[in-house]
């Protein structure tokens, strides 16, 4: 029997606001415990929530970026449950009337495009955290994070493989950073996913029972967890067991998902509208204002690269995978560099190096003007592509060096002078009659060997394009 996999994702995106969603306390990460726990965070009696407009603005921004409806009227509700890191005994969230409804994100998985529908996105506050193991037999509570604004983004169950789920999560991760609403830091918990997984017999209309994998904060774990979960569910069903709806946690050490104790999830949250907050009303004017500040989205940039700059889709998607990379690329092209050569250099060389060193584009040691100069020298044929790579490596080691000085001191200047190249070609033809014969009898390999010979005696300085052109001319004439 074959099976269909059905996946939906809920993502908690931490919004980059200076202050918390319902108080003036700072959202700065990494401070000593409870440094940011103001009286509202601590739920002191008589304190009241006041909505942070910046969080609303960022939610609207997201809604516009996924072509969703922005609700004119949405409502904050209380989700009631007891937990030590939830100071009020309820979380302020949105329940029946969220701020963002019905958008979509288009993903590309192995060359196939697919629309993933976004059912809703709502604003809510984060909880604090319990800290175990510092004090004997006691649990510490750190409320720095309590009240940090979150946007919870919920998809329809539109994904049908772990690969699609990852493609969606990565795309979303890029988008929220692109539009400046989230720092995307997964280690710090700024972007975390709950993944709902179910399986059903291929082609069946009836959805299977789902299990929700909680709190995944790495794409690698997400893929492992989904694959494990899917196999587990199929095995269970094939062995004649029912799937019980539940919440599961992924253990990265064992690579397994495991259901939480039912007690931990048996909650009736008793949602009701929060009487301390007025309904959130958003005018068309607000929406238009935010729309005008949205800027180009990755999708449009991708089109520009593939259509206007004629880059291939693979390179284009790497360049728009991150706004900083895109901006870097654009500034290079704007300085007069060739779009394709520049793309090749960023994707092929720069990214390879950055990945090797686990660095982001911000951490690139090479100064932008040297990088531009390097590509210019390749474009104007002063040096060959290979010489360029050599210089790139040297610049990486010692960013204080200058491209032109390096070309001179290393003697990498390409010889494009006909009077210098032609004698070398004549010499090689004369010394290698066998190869010439082979070429004439149709062996292309022989031609490449002849080019190699010329390059060798030029000590790599001859312009290889020019060499092969002249050589071909000579051989076909003679």
């Amino acid at each position: 029997m074959t099976w269909d996999i059905v996946i939906g994702i809920e993502t908690h995106v931490q919004l980059t606001t200076k202050t918390k969603i319902f108080s003036g306390a700072s959202t700065e990460f990494g401070l000593p415990a409870n440094e940011n726990a103001c009286l509202v965070s601590l739920a002191y009696p008589g304190t009241l929530p006041v909505l942070n407009k910046e969080a609303v603005m960022k939610a609207i921004k997201f809604g516009l970026a996924v072509d969703a409806q922005i609700a004119e009227y949405s409502v904050f509700a209380r989700k009631n449950y007891f937990y030590p890191d939830l100071p009020k005994g309820y979380q302020i969230s949105q329940f029946e009337l969220p701020v963002v409804n019905h958008g979509y994100l288009e993903i590309n998985n192995e060359g196939v495009n697919k629309k993933i529908r976004i059912l809703r996105a709502h604003l809510e506050e984060d909880a604090g955290k319990s800290v175990h193991g510092i004090m004997d037999n006691k649990t510490g509570i750190d409320l720095n994070r309590a009240g940090t604004p979150l946007l919870e983004i919920v998809t329809e169950p539109d994904m049908s493989s772990a690969k699609e789920a990852i493609a969606y999560a990565k795309k979303l991760h890029n988008l929220v950073q692109w539009i400046g609403i989230c720092d995307g830091n997964m280690q710090e918990g700024s972007f975390r996913c709950d993944v709902n997984v179910s399986v059903k017999p291929s082609g069946s209309d009836k959805l299977g029972t789902r299990r929700e994998i909680k709190n995944l904060n790495s794409f690698r774990y997400m893929e492992q967890a989904i694959n494990y979960e899917v196999n587990w569910q199929i095995e269970q069903i094939e062995d004649g067991h029912d799937i019980i709806q539940s919440t599961v946690l992924f253990n990265p050490d064992s690579g397994e998902t495991k259901a939480m104790r039912s007690k931990e999830e048996a909650n009736d949250y008793r949602y009701f509208p929060d009487p301390d907050l007025l309904p959130l009303k958003i005018s068309q004017r607000d929406i238009d204002l935010i729309r005008s500040s949205l800027g180009e989205l990755p999708e449009e940039c991708f089109k520009k690269l593939t259509v206007d700059y004629k880059l291939n889709e693979a390179d284009a998607s790497i360049i728009v995978s991150d706004k900083k990379t895109y901006k870097f690329y654009q500034s290079l092209v704007a300085s007069g560099l060739d779009a394709k050569i520049t793309a090749n250099w960023i994707v092929g060389n720069l990214f390879a190096k950055l990945n090797d060193h686990e660095l982001s584009i911000d951490d690139c040691p090479i100064a932008q003007e040297q990088f531009i100069l390097l590509i210019k020298r390749i474009m104007d044929q002063t040096i060959s592509n290979n010489a360029g790579k050599k210089i790139f490596d040297l610049l990486w080691e010692d960013p204080n060096q200058n491209v032109d000085t390096l070309i001179d001191t290393l003697g990498l200047k390409q010889v494009s002078d006909l009077s210098a190249i032609l004698p070398m070609i004549d010499e090689i033809i004369q010394n290698n009659p066998e190869m010439v014969e082979q070429f004439k009898s149709g062996k292309d390999k022989a031609f490449n060997a002849l080019v190699g010979q010329v390059m060798k005696i030029s000590k790599g300085k001859a312009n290889p394009g020019q060499v092969s052109e002249l050589l071909k001319e000579k051989l076909t004439k003679s």
């Binding site: 002191y44 008589g46 009241l48 209380r78 009020k88 005994g89 309820y90 008793r270 009487p275």
Partner: protein, 484 residues
């Protein structure tokens, strides 16, 4: 001195007839003499009050004097006051010292008024008799065997007995007006949103509203001048221009119309109360006011609707009292769950627990639509009734309480009978409207008030009508000593 109005106290301070320290000491002595019997105060701190009075005297000596500068005001123990113990009448907060001032306390401090102490109240403002307080029942100064009403019973008893010239209070379902009625005082519940709820410990957020309890409408107007102020820390606070509530106290009400809701003046209304209210009407007639029968068809549903919505909000508002961060924590427990259970079991009284249970029930999955959602819909209908009624009249006359004060212990075993105490006051909380209770006379030597309800933000009109009534009547001038 105890019969002086706020304005007379102000004149006395201004003319240096007495200092704020002398005045404050006078009331502190009154408290020493009377509080043991009446139990109106939970916390008194002579040192703090006198210190504030000294500062006030300094201001007065520099001629920096506004209406309440130097005048002692008792604060209901629901308002957080920096470095004062703030208990809300509960064991749960017996050890709680707020590190901040509520907006109301802050405004009084800024006006130069003296915090005379924190008054007793029903636990978390849940009650109509002041018997649910962890700090013991408050006695009605008119007869110590009787309740003063609730939940602001401490504030009412403090003013009625002459321990304080005026007091702050809060009203969620009648907690200002019913004790005012039962203690021969004037108590105003303002429009929802007029007075900030910041730092006022929440019972039912969509209904809670702070207001004054004082001897007269004029005193209430002076108090409201201080209390009504926009506050960005309370999202439900309404931004509007400040009004001067004393300005129009004497405006003519000739030709105005008072609406008489037929649903309140029916067979259920106590005959004695009915006679009292008819006399109030005669007084208004002499002031040139006309009457018109109006209808509030959904008002009969107010009590059930209130006892769904208020407990629902309370059950959530009181979740923060879990022993983790502040307040009471049980001493022996083996794990987190037991700590929660024991803390809340030991820290809350019966009435609070009853309402948490009801509130939790009506919000539960499967019951929400039938109770909470339906109650919210009826609440809207109740508000609509008033909106319609105010197209036909200026104010609405109603009883404040169904009867005079009852004996301590009489209704403690019958919560529903206790809940009926608020049958004439609750609908205005549900609608968010302003209303006043003012002295209307006595039945068997115990006082009772009448209620005037106004349209949104018509506090000035309510105070105007009440002040004119008080200018031709004497009921508000009686104090317990004279009757007993």
């Amino acid at each position: 001195m105890k019969d002086l109005s706020l304005n007379e106290l102000h004149q006395g301070l201004k003319n240096k007839d007495f200092s704020s320290v002398e005045l404050t000491q006078y009331y502190l002595n009154q408290i020493k003499d009377l509080n043991t019997d009446i139990n109106a105060f939970i916390t008194v701190d002579e040192e703090k009050s006198i210190q504030q009075a000294q500062q006030a005297d300094q201001l007065i000596s520099q001629n920096h004097i506004s209406d309440l500068t130097g005048i002692p005001i008792a604060q209901k123990d629901i308002f957080c006051a920096s470095s004062w113990k703030t208990t809300c009448g509960s064991k749960m907060l017996d050890n709680f010292y707020a590190p901040y001032d509520s907006k109301v306390v802050d405004l009084f401090n800024k006006s130069g008024a003296i915090n005379l102490g924190k008054t007793n109240m029903d636990e978390f403002a849940m009650g109509s008799s002041n018997e649910t307080s962890y700090y013991g029942a408050v006695k009605n100064p008119w007869n110590l065997d009787f309740v003063p009403g609730g939940s602001s019973g401490g504030s009412a008893a403090a003013v009625a007995s002459g321990m304080s010239p005026a007091a702050t209070a809060t009203d969620t379902g009648g907690s200002i007006r019913q004790p005012a009625s039962l203690c021969n005082l004037t108590g105003l519940k303002p429009t929802y949103g007029l007075v900030s709820r910041f730092g006022m410990i929440a019972f039912a957020s969509s209904l809670d509203q702070a207001g004054p309890i004082a001897k007269t409408a004029e005193d209430c107007a002076l108090m409201l001048n201080v209390m009504a102020d926009f506050d960005e820390r309370d999202s439900t606070s309404v931004k509007r221009d400040k009004e001067n509530y004393t300005q129009s106290l004497n405006a003519s009400i000739q030709g105005k119309i008072i609406g008489i809701p037929k649903e309140f003046f029916n067979d259920e209304l106590n005959d004695d109360v009915k006679i009292i209210l008819e006399k109030v009407m005669q007084a208004y007639q002499s002031l040139g006011v006309n009457f018109k029968e109006i209808s509030l068809p959904n008002s009969q549903l107010s009590i059930p609707v209130y006892y769904v919505i208020a407990p629902a909000e309370a059950s959530s508002n009181l979740s923060r009292y879990d022993g983790v961060k502040f307040g009471y924590r049980a001493s022996n427990y083996k794990d987190l769950e037991e700590m929660y259970l024991k803390t809340r079991e030991e820290g809350f009284g019966d009435e609070v627990k009853r309402r948490i249970l009801v509130g939790t029930y009506v919000l539960s999955a499967g019951y929400y639509d039938a109770y909470y959602l339906k109650a919210q819909k009826i609440r809207r209908l109740i508000a609509d009734d008033f909106t319609k009624a105010f197209t036909e009249c200026d104010l609405i006359l109603a009883p404040s309480s169904p009867s005079t004060a009852f004996k301590i212990g009489d209704k403690t075993e019958d919560p529903v009978a206790m809940y009926m105490q608020d049958m004439y006051t609750i609908s205005t909380n549900l609608a968010g409207l302003p209303a006043i209770s003012a002295p209307a006379g006595f039945i068997n030597n115990m006082p009772i008030g009448f209620q005037l309800i106004g349209n949104y933000f018509e506090e000035a009109k309510i105070l105007n009508f009440t002040h004119l009534y008080q200018s031709i009547s004497d009921w508000h001038k009686y104090s317990p000593g004279e009757v007993l």
